[in-house]
C-alpha cells in the first residue's frame, strides 16, 4: 500500500464517522435526486431518474466519480465506426466453418472427408484423425474433444473444421463430409440421468459434481416447525441473445504463435486454450478483445472453442482464418443458462420466523462440464437467500446430459434458486396469512447475523433497507389493496404485485479464489493523455468508462484525457474473467493501485516544485491543489515537468482481495468478498383469456456501494430488469431430445421496445471500504430478483402459483383453465 493509499483510507474512515454522526441528526433529509417522469399514453412507459438514498448525509466530494460523463466509446458505436470482429479486413483471409453433429448421442464409426477436402476452394479439413495439436479442451476439466473422434455426446459436438475461400464453398464442402454413426440412447433430464440405468454421457457416470451446504441440523428445524412448505420448481434454458454472434479471427505469427482477435469476455481463457491446443507457450499466443456486441456470460468460456478451431485452421493453412457464427449456429452451439430442477423445503414457526431451508438442486450441465460446477457453486450458496436461517441443508448435483451445455449467464446459478426460494417465501406468507414483504423484513439478514452459509458478515447487510425502500417507493400497501379491488371487479384482466429480495456475493466465490486477482497497466503520456489497460473486458456494460472515471479521479485529470485500450493478453497478466459483477471492484482497484503509484511520484515532484510539503498537495480536475486551493501548477504542467525530470509515469497495478476462510466439506464460511443487496417489486396484468402477462412496473432498489459511472449503473439495472423479464415470461428455448428447435429470433422471443415496464430505481450508496472509491458490482443483482418478483406478482394476480419458468402464455393459460375446470 502506498503512502497516498494509506492517507486516502484514513480520510475515508474519518469521513465515514462524520457521516454516521450527521446521519443520526438528519435521518429524514436524505439526498434525493428526483425524477423526471414523462407522460405517456397507455402502452408508453416511463422511467424515472434513479433516486439516491444515501445513508450518509454528506457524500464524498468527487470530481468525476458518481457522475455520468458521456461514454468515451459512445460516438464510435453510434456512427458505425466501432470495429467488431467481422468488420476487420485482413488480406488472404479464409473462412472457417465448423461442422457439428446431426445427433445427440452416438458412436462414430467413420468420418470420410476426402470429397470435402478435394472440393475446389477448400484449403483444409481437420478432423480428430489428422488433428495437428492437442485435441482435448475444457475450462475446468479437460473432458471435451475439440473435434470428436469416436463418440458424439450432443448436437454441438464438432465433426470437422473446414477452411475455405468463402462461406458458400465451406458449406458445400461440409455437405460432402460422410459421417457414419451408430446412434445411442440419450438422456435429457438431470434427474433421469442420475438413475443407475440411465445412458452414460461419460464412462465415469453422469454425476459431474456434487456440492453441499450443511449448517445446523435441518431435522431439528423440522421438529420445531409449525409450517413446512415443500415444492418442486423447474427453470428452462435461457439464451444469452447478445446481438453480436460469436466471432474470432486467427492469424499465424512468424514465430509459430497465434494472434486472436474477436468477441470475448475473457481473453485469458482464449489464450490458455489456444496455447494448449497448439502446444505453444502462453507467451506466443496473444488474445485481443475487439469491440464486443454483448456477452452476459455467454462469451466467458465459449469463445475459446471457436478460437481454438480458427487457430488450428490458421496453423494448417498458414493463412488468417475468420470464424463468424450465424445466429442459428450461435444459439445451437454456445452455452445457455442452466435448466434446473429444484426441490425446496422451508420450515418456519407460526410467528413467521424461519427455522430451516433445505434444497435439492439439479443442474443440467449438458454433455461437458464447462463452467457448470462453478455455476452450481453459486446456486448452492444461494438457497437460503438473504435471510437469517439457522438450519440449512443444500445438495446440488451437476449432471451430465445429452442436452445443450450450460454456462455462465448473468446471475450464474442464483436466478434459478432465487426463483424457488422467493416463491417459497410468498407461499409461506400466504400460509401464515402474512404480508410477504413484511415476512421478508422479519427474517432479513441484519448487522452481525450469520448468513445461510454460516458467514459472520463483515459489512452491514442492506437487506432490510432495500426492502423498506422498495415497499415505500412503490406504495406497497396501497397497491396491494388496489389490485385486490381491481381483481374483484375485472373478470378477465387480473392485476398483481409481488416482491423478491436477494443478496449477491460480488466477485468470485471462495472456491475460485485462487483465480481472484486482476491487473492493470497505466501509462501517463507527456501531453497528459493517459492509456489504461485492464484485464477485465468491455462487453457493453461500461467497464471502460468506469476505469476512465477512476483513473481521472485519481490522477486529477479530465475523463476525456483517459483512453482505455482494448483488453489484450500482451498488456496485462491473467486477470480472470469478466464475470461475477467483479470488474468494477477487481479491475477498478487494480487501476487505482497503478494510479496511486503514479500520483505519488507526481506529488513528490509537485511538492518540490511548489516548495511545500507533500501532505499539502493533491490533484483534482486538472489542477494541482495546495491545501485544497488551486496552485499555479496544472496537472498537465506537472506531468510535463515529470517527463523533463525523467520521472517514470507508468505503473502496473494489481488487486487481490484478502483470503477467505471457507470450508468445502460443509459449503460454509466466507463465500464472497462482499455482498450486494437488492429488492424488486413487480406489478403485472395477466390476461386470463390468453394467458399473457404484461409487466407494468418494476421498482428496483439496489445497494451498490458507490456509483462510479452513474448512468452505467442505471443502464445495468434497466438492462437487467428487461432481460430478467424475458427470462420470467417470454424466453422459452425449446429443447427436444437435445436439439434446440427455435435457434433464431423469430421464435425465441426476447423483449422488444414494446415489452418494457416502467422502471423506478433507488440506489443505496453506503461505500464499500475495499471497493474503488467505495464501489461494488451491479451487473447481476439487476437481473436475479426480476423473475421471482414477476412470478410472485402473477401468483398474486391469479391467486394461483406456477412453479415452472418461463411463465409463457401457454403455461399461464393452462394453469388458469385447469383450475377453472376443477372448480366448476
Amino acid at each position: 500500500m502506498t503512502a497516498k493509499g494509506k492517507k486516502k483510507q484514513a480520510t475515508g474512515k474519518a469521513t465515514k464517522k462524520v457521516q454516521k454522526k450527521v446521519q443520526k441528526k438528519t435521518a429524514n433529509t436524505k439526498k434525493v435526486t428526483e425524477k423526471v417522469t414523462k407522460p405517456g399514453k397507455k402502452i408508453a412507459v416511463k422511467t424515472t431518474e434513479p433516486k439516491v438514498v444515501t445513508k450518509a448525509a454528506t457524500r464524498p466530494d468527487f470530481a468525476v466519480v458518481g457522475k455520468s460523463p458521456r461514454r468515451l466509446d459512445g460516438p464510435g458505436k453510434t456512427t458505425g465506426a466501432a470495429t467488431y470482429v467481422d468488420d476487420l479486413r485482413v488480406a488472404d483471409c479464409l473462412v472457417g466453418y465448423i461442422l457439428t453433429s446431426p445427433c445427440a448421442n452416438a458412436r462414430v464409426k467413420s468420418i470420410d472427408v476426402s470429397k470435402a477436402r478435394a472440393f475446389p476452394g477448400v484449403h483444409a479439413v481437420v478432423t480428430a484423425e489428422n488433428f495437428p495439436g492437442d485435441n482435448q479442451v475444457g475450462v475446468v476439466k479437460l473432458d471435451q474433444p475439440l473435434v470428436v473422434s469416436d463418440r458424439i455426446r450432443w448436437y454441438g459436438d464438432r465433426i470437422a473444421l473446414i477452411a475455405a475461400i468463402d462461406r458458400p464453398t465451406a458449406l458445400r464442402a461440409a455437405a460432402l463430409v460422410e459421417l457414419d454413426v451408430e446412434t445411442l440412447p440419450s438422456v435429457h433430464d438431470p434427474l433421469e440421468a442420475l438413475a443407475d440405468d440411465a445412458p452414460r454421457v461419460h464412462t465415469e457416470g453422469n454425476l459431474a459434481a456434487k456440492m453441499v451446504v450443511r449448517k445446523g441440523d435441518f431435522a431439528e428445524a423440522l421438529k420445531q416447525a409449525d409450517v413446512v412448505i415443500e415444492r418442486l420448481y423447474s427453470t428452462g434454458h435461457q439464451e444469452h441473445a447478445y446481438l453480436e454472434t460469436n466471432g474470432i479471427l486467427a492469424e499465424l505469427q512468424p514465430d509459430g504463435g497465434m494472434l486472436l482477435r474477436g468477441s470475448m469476455q475473457c481473453p485469458f481463457y482464449v489464450q490458455k486454450i489456444v496455447a494448449r491446443v497448439l502446444q505453444v507457450p502462453h507467451s506466443k499466443v496473444r488474445a485481443v478483445q475487439t469491440t464486443t456486441g454483448g456477452g452476459f456470460g455467454g462469451k466467458e468460456d465459449y469463445p475459446s472453442e471457436p478460437a481454438a478451431c480458427a487457430a488450428i485452421l490458421a496453423k494448417v493453412t498458414g493463412r488468417p482464418v475468420k470464424v463468424i457464427y450465424k445466429r442459428d449456429e450461435d444459439i445451437a452451439r454456445s452455452s445457455k443458462r442452466h435448466a434446473t430442477k429444484i426441490k425446496h423445503i422451508l420450515a418456519a414457526k407460526k410467528d413467521g420466523t424461519l427455522l430451516g431451508a433445505k434444497a435439492e438442486v439439479y443442474v443440467d450441465a449438458g454433455a461437458y462440464l464447462g463452467l457448470s460446477a462453478i455455476v452450481a457453486e453459486r446456486a448452492n450458496a444461494s438457497a437460503g437467500g438473504t435471510y437469517v436461517v439457522p438450519h440449512v441443508e443444500v445438495d446440488t448435483y451437476t449432471v451430465y446430459t445429452n442436452n445443450p451445455f450450460g454456462g455462465a449467464f448473468r446471475g450464474f446459478g442464483a436466478p434459478q434458486v432465487s426463483f424457488a426460494l422467493e416463491s417459497q417465501m410468498d407461499l409461506l406468507a400466504k400460509e401464515l396469512g402474512r404480508d410477504p414483504l413484511e415476512l421478508r423484513l422479519q427474517n432479513a439478514l441484519h448487522k452481525g447475523s450469520l448468513s445461510p452459509t454460516n458467514e459472520r458478515l463483515r459489512d452491514e447487510p442492506q437487506a432490510t433497507q432495500t426492502m423498506e425502500i422498495a415497499r415505500d417507493r412503490c406504495g406497497w400497501d396501497k397497491r396491494r389493496k388496489a389490485v385486490a379491488v381491481h381483481n374483484a371487479t375485472d373478470r378477465y384482466n387480473k392485476k398483481g404485485i409481488g416482491a423478491a429480495s436477494i443478496s449477491y456475493g460480488c466477485c468470485l466465490h471462495a472456491g475460485g479464489q485462487h483465480l481472484e486477482g486482476s491487473a492493470s497497466l497505466v501509462q501517463v503520456h507527456p501531453d497528459a493523455s493517459v492509456s489504461v489497460a485492464i484485464g477485465g473486458a468491455e462487453i457493453g456494460q461500461g467497464a471502460y468508462q468506469v476505469m476512465a472515471l477512476l483513473a481521472a479521479e485519481s490522477l486529477g485529470l479530465p475523463v476525456e484525457n483517459i483512453r482505455v485500450l482494448d483488453t489484450d493478453t500482451s498488456l496485462v497478466p491473467d486477470s480472470g474473467p469478466t464475470v461475477a459483477s467483479r470488474t468494477t471492484v477487481m479491475s477498478g482497484n487494480a487501476v487505482l493501485d497503478a494510479t496511486a503509484q503514479i500520483t505519488q511520484r507526481m506529488l513528490a515532484v509537485a511538492a518540490k516544485h511548489l516548495e511545500t510539503d507533500l501532505k499539502h498537495i493533491s490533484l483534482r480536475a486538472g489542477q494541482v491543489l495546495i491545501d485544497g486551493k488551486k496552485s499555479k501548477l496544472s496537472v498537465a504542467e506537472l506531468i510535463a515537468l515529470c517527463f523533463t525530470q525523467k520521472v517514470n509515469l507508468t505503473a502496473s497495478g494489481w488487486y487481490a482481495p484478502p483470503r477467505k476462510q471457507w470450508d468445502r466439506e460443509t459449503g460454509t464460511g466466507q463465500g464472497y468478498s462482499v455482498y450486494c443487496y437488492a429488492t424488486m417489486v413487480a406489478e403485472v396484468t395477466v390476461d386470463t383469456v390468453t394467458g399473457l402477462v404484461t409487466v407494468d412496473k418494476v421498482t428496483a432498489v439496489h445497494d451498490i456501494g458507490q456509483a462510479i459511472f452513474r448512468a452505467g449503473v442505471e443502464g445495468q439495472i434497466h438492462g437487467g430488469v428487461v432481460q430478467g423479464l424475458g427470462y420470467a415470461i417470454m424466453e422459452n428455448l425449446v429443447v427436444q431430445d437435445g436439439k434446440i428447435l427455435n435457434p433464431g429470433f423469430t421464435d425465441y422471443l426476447i423483449p422488444t421496445s414494446m415489452d418494457i415496464p416502467e422502471i423506478d430505481i433507488a440506489l443505496i450508496e453506503e461505500p464499500y471500504d475495499r471497493g474503488p472509491y467505495g464501489g461494488k458490482g451491479i451487473g447481476e443483482p439487476s437481473l436475479i430478483p426480476v423473475a421471482p418478483a414477476i412470478a410472485n406478482a402473477v401468483a398474486n394476480a391469479l391467486d394461483l402459483r406456477l412453479y415452472d419458468l418461463p411463465l409463457t402464455p401457454e403455461r399461464v393459460k393452462m394453469a388458469w383453465d385447469a383450475r377453472e375446470l376443477a372448480e366448476n
Partner: protein
C-alpha cells in the same frame, strides 16, 4: 450484375450477384460495415438501412432490389456534422455494446423525418423492429424524444 444505386448520397456501382443479400454486398463491396448482421432473418434490425428513406432489413433484400434506389447506411449520418440522434443517444446513455445502435439510429431518423413530434408510444412502435439486449430501451427512447424536443425548440425560434 452491376448494381447502380445512390449509396450514402454518392452514385455508386457495385458489382455483385443480384441474388446476394444487400447486407453482404454493402459490407463486402460497399465498405459500409456499420450495417450489422444480428440474426439474418429480419427480426433484430441490426442490418437496418434506409431505402429511399424507408427503413428496411438489408438481410432480407437481394442486392438487385437496391438497383436504381437510394440506400443510406449509418455512414451517411456520420459524414460531416453527426446527426443529432447520435449525440443524443450517447448523452442519454442509450449505448452499451453498440451492436444494435446503427440500426436504431436509422429507424429513429426515419420516424423523426416523418413524425417530428412523436409520442413515447410512437417511438416504442418505431423501434419495435430493433432488438437491443443491453439497455432495456428506455434511454434510447428518451434520446429520440429529446431530439424531437430540441429540433422543435430550434424551429420555433425566429
Amino acid at each position: 450484375m452491376a448494381i447502380e444505386l445512390i449509396l450514402n448520397g454518392e452514385p455508386t456501382q457495385l458489382d455483385a450477384p443480384g441474388s446476394a443479400r444487400l447486407l453482404d454486398v454493402l459490407r463486402e463491396h460497399g465498405h459500409t460495415v456499420g450495417v450489422k448482421e444480428g440474426c439474418g432473418e429480419g427480426e433484430c434490425g441490426a442490418c437496418t438501412v434506409l431505402i429511399d428513406d424507408v427503413p428496411a432489413c438489408s438481410c432480407l433484400m437481394f442486392a438487385g432490389q437496391a438497383n436504381g434506389h437510394r440506400v443510406d447506411t449509418i455512414e451517411s449520418l456520420s459524414q460531416g456534422e453527426p446527426h443529432p440522434l447520435m449525440d443524443a443517444i450517447v448523452d442519454a446513455a442509450g449505448v452499451q455494446c453498440g451492436f444494435c445502435t446503427p440500426g436504431i439510429v436509422l429507424s429513429a431518423k426515419s420516424l423523426l423525418d416523418n413524425n417530428p413530434k412523436p409520442t413515447r408510444e410512437e417511438v416504442q412502435v418505431a423501434l419495435s423492429g430493433n432488438l437491443c439486449r443491453c439497455t432495456g430501451y428506455h434511454r434510447i427512447i428518451d434520446a429520440v424524444q429529446s431530439v424531437a424536443k430540441n429540433s422543435q425548440a430550434k424551429t420555433r425560434r425566429p
